[in-house]
């Protein structure tokens, strides 16, 4: 990783100054510290030395200036739903909890955007927006904060139509390593003036600055939504249907793959009666007439490829029933082996390689003797494997780790990426050079060093400095 070590004196001095300034809003209790290093994955907890709860951008500036003066690491914290150890403090330091900064600053319905503080969560945002007829479309599953979603370049089921956080953050404000506030862009829909600092911050995982405000694009709540479910004889046939659908310009809103293992798990867990073959769950957004036309066309494409029937509806309750398998997929998977944990990989390949990548991965799962359902955002070429393992069984854990390593190697060999949406954190740093090459990694490290020369902003994530 790096040769940096803990700066005990600097951390202690920072905590002392923070307590003087923020009093009871600084916690050094073991449980609070551990909860803020929480990783939701198999990466060991590396708790920060203290947690400070910030209420405003000005307070974040003060915190950064105190930490900078004492060379003390800072780890921004939102909801704690990160999956790759982003929140760990490998060199100690302070967790900066911005969850109380959860206000909507301004809604601009005519411009289809909203200005929010970083601690607001996506479900709360959508509840507060409901009366405007607009919604924030990105749905990564977890009820994450908008700041965290921007920091990890999150996406999820809707990305095939609405894009990722890269496409939906119009502008942001962040506190830099020196405590300055930087504004990355104006609220205009596009601009050609200067380096794209917005996109530099999106996906930077707290290593370049602490996000304190975001201007987010919204979409109109569709008049009609059709949703349905379609079996296929093989993953290849399902992937071909995805490719043809997208090539035809059908603006599918969600298109999710469940492999037969996942379908079996869902049948058991949710008392469903689905055919245990690969399934696509599909959703279209538009007017009544348009979603009906899209659904019919998708059904035709599916049948041409030996799939179908495509069962679909525009009635919300029935749609929820058809999509139940997807909503409960994670818990259904876990229930296949009670007492086990899982680790969600999130590789992403060009769609033309998707069927091949999944086929090789399934062969590997079988050869390794694992139980590992597959669920995918296949419109993007992105899929999750959920290998189940007993955390007390060291041999099994080792086999799962090796399996994930091979999965990433396979993905990279197919022009794919180690992470479609979870981010790098600590867990995927080891794959970065293979994915990007030495020159790109050097460029990232050069940018990091230039913008955070002391290495106080979430050190030990993405690119290791020092």
């Amino acid at each position: 990783m790096s040769e940096r070590t803990r700066n005990e004196a600097g951390i202690a001095a920072t905590i002392e100054r923070l307590i003087e300034r923020f009093g009871e809003r600084v916690s050094t209790s073991a449980s609070m510290r551990e909860q803020h290093g929480h990783t939701l994955t198999w990466i060991a907890n590396q708790a920060p030395d203290a947690v400070v709860f910030a209420k405003s951008e000005a307070e974040v500036q003060e915190i950064v200036r105190i930490a900078a003066a004492n060379d003390c690491p800072l780890v921004p914290f939102g909801a704690g739903t990160s999956l790759e150890g982003h929140l760990n403090a490998p060199y100690g330091g302070i967790s900066v909890d911005v969850s109380a900064m959860d206000a909507i600053v301004a809604v601009h319905p005519d411009d289809l955007d909203v200005v929010v503080q970083p601690g607001i969560r996506r479900k709360a945002l959508n509840e507060q927006l409901r009366d405007t007829g607009l919604f924030f479309p990105i749905d990564p599953g977890a009820d994450a904060t908008l700041g965290g979603m921007a920091a990890t370049r999150a996406s999820g089921t809707n990305a095939v139509r609405y894009g990722t956080m890269k496409d939906n953050v119009l502008a942001l404000r962040a506190v830099t390593a020196t405590g300055e506030v930087v504004t990355t862009s104006r609220r205009a829909k596009k601009s050609s003036t200067g380096y794209d600092l917005t996109r530099l911050f999106v996906g930077s995982e707290g290593t370049l600055g602490i996000i304190t405000e975001l201007t987010i694009r919204l979409s109109g709540i569709p008049e009609a939504i059709s949703g349905g479910i379609c079996p296929f004889p093989s993953v290849q046939a399902a992937a071909d249907a995805v490719i043809l659908t997208i090539q035809s310009g059908i603006p599918v809103a969600r298109i999710e793959l469940l492999d037969e293992v996942q379908v079996r798990a869902c049948n058991l867990y949710s008392k469903l009666d689905l055919p245990e073959t690969p399934l696509l769950l599909v959703e279209f957004h538009g007017t009544e007439a348009w979603v009906a036309e899209q659904s019919t066309r998708f059904g035709e494409i599916a049948e041409d490829l030996g799939g179908g029937p495509f069962t679909w509806t525009t009635k919300p309750e029935e749609r929820s029933k058809l999509w139940a398998a997807r909503h409960d997929a994670y818990w259904a998977g876990l229930a296949l082996r009670p007492g086990c944990q899982t680790f969600s990989s999130d590789v992403c390949v060009p769609i033309s390689r998707l069927a091949e990548c999944i086929a090789e991965t399934k062969a590997d799962i079988e050869a390794t003797g694992l139980v590992a359902p597959i669920v995918g955002h296949v419109g993007d070429g992105n899929f999750h494997t959920l290998p189940l393992f007993d955390p007390a069984d060291a041999d099994e854990v080792a086999r799962v780790k090796a399996f994930v390593g091979r999965l990433v190697e396979r993905t990279l060999a197919m022009e794919g990426t180690a992470s479609g949406e979870h981010g790098v954190g600590q867990g995927k740093m080891k794959y970065l050079e293979a994915e990007h090459g030495a020159a790109a990694l050097d460029m990232m490290a050069t940018i990091k060093r230039a913008l955070d020369p002391k290495g106080i902003l979430n050190p030990g994530k993405i690119v290791a400095i020092r």
Copy 2:
């Protein structure tokens, strides 16, 4: 600007070495040099000291290494369609002409992407793609190179539906200031691994590296296109129609505003008979049924706002006729005052401020005594004013410059940007601090210094170093 001066010895040594290596592919003729500093605008020509024609990425690397060793500026050159002095060489140096690097490297129809060299022009690309059923949707007007379009973050009439270059460059390769080749991303549709170097290069105007390859997103050629023309009683009514259309989730492909001055110019120039009121020209892409539904809905929205009738068709020849006014807008505008030049500004505001911004701008045009048609990509809040001036009339030129300055100030006061699509170049450097703030400009300069410490890559553009 900066205190940098010409490094005569380094430039001379670089030219000598380049001639040794590339022979007749180095030109120092006055006409060739002047043509490569061409600005298509009122900014004075600052020709490079030599032009070198590169045929491959490896040659670009050699050129950069020679220049780096001699501290000699390099200015990348594609088609020369830039509008803000991007191609000028204020400190002298070498124009690196990559127009011969114009090959398609690979087409991936299943993935809807294409890998190209930077010198390919967008019309040639689309001609070569025709048989695939796919197309590259970004249309900035000029037949620019893909490298240049990426470097300036170009967009144009289709951006409201298909996005800008920021959204359509999946990955790129570039030669850095040290002559290394950096690859910014994989070909997967999305990724969360590391800093977004792709978006850092898009819009960097040759100041961070010389682009040598691009992976570009394509779209399916729509089954049906409907296009039409719709008069409105006022710019406000037209802008309101744009807002309602987008809020309704109607995926309009193009929505262009012509103000009544531009319409009069088009009537005169193209022998048309259009009502001399603000007009929207609109285009929808989809299936026959869907474009008909969208066109009908747009017509209803227009009539609710006092506009209409919306005259539309799906027949290509008739569509071209209806859109003739837009296609000839630039030349029609120039013909209003024969012998005059124009300067195209490209400010962009949040759509909610568009009508107000245009109204104030029209009042300013009148008060200043200018003739200045307005044409806008109004779905993005982006509009061009084309003030006509006699370049020999110093007073008029001064009044136009002052007018453009006020236009930018007005735009910035409305949360807009000085450039929606033309870029910064030399022309808009003076507005950057007002637009982005000192902290963001410092961050840009820090990145520039870190990645190009000698300042050899297109110096004197975007952020001034040294």
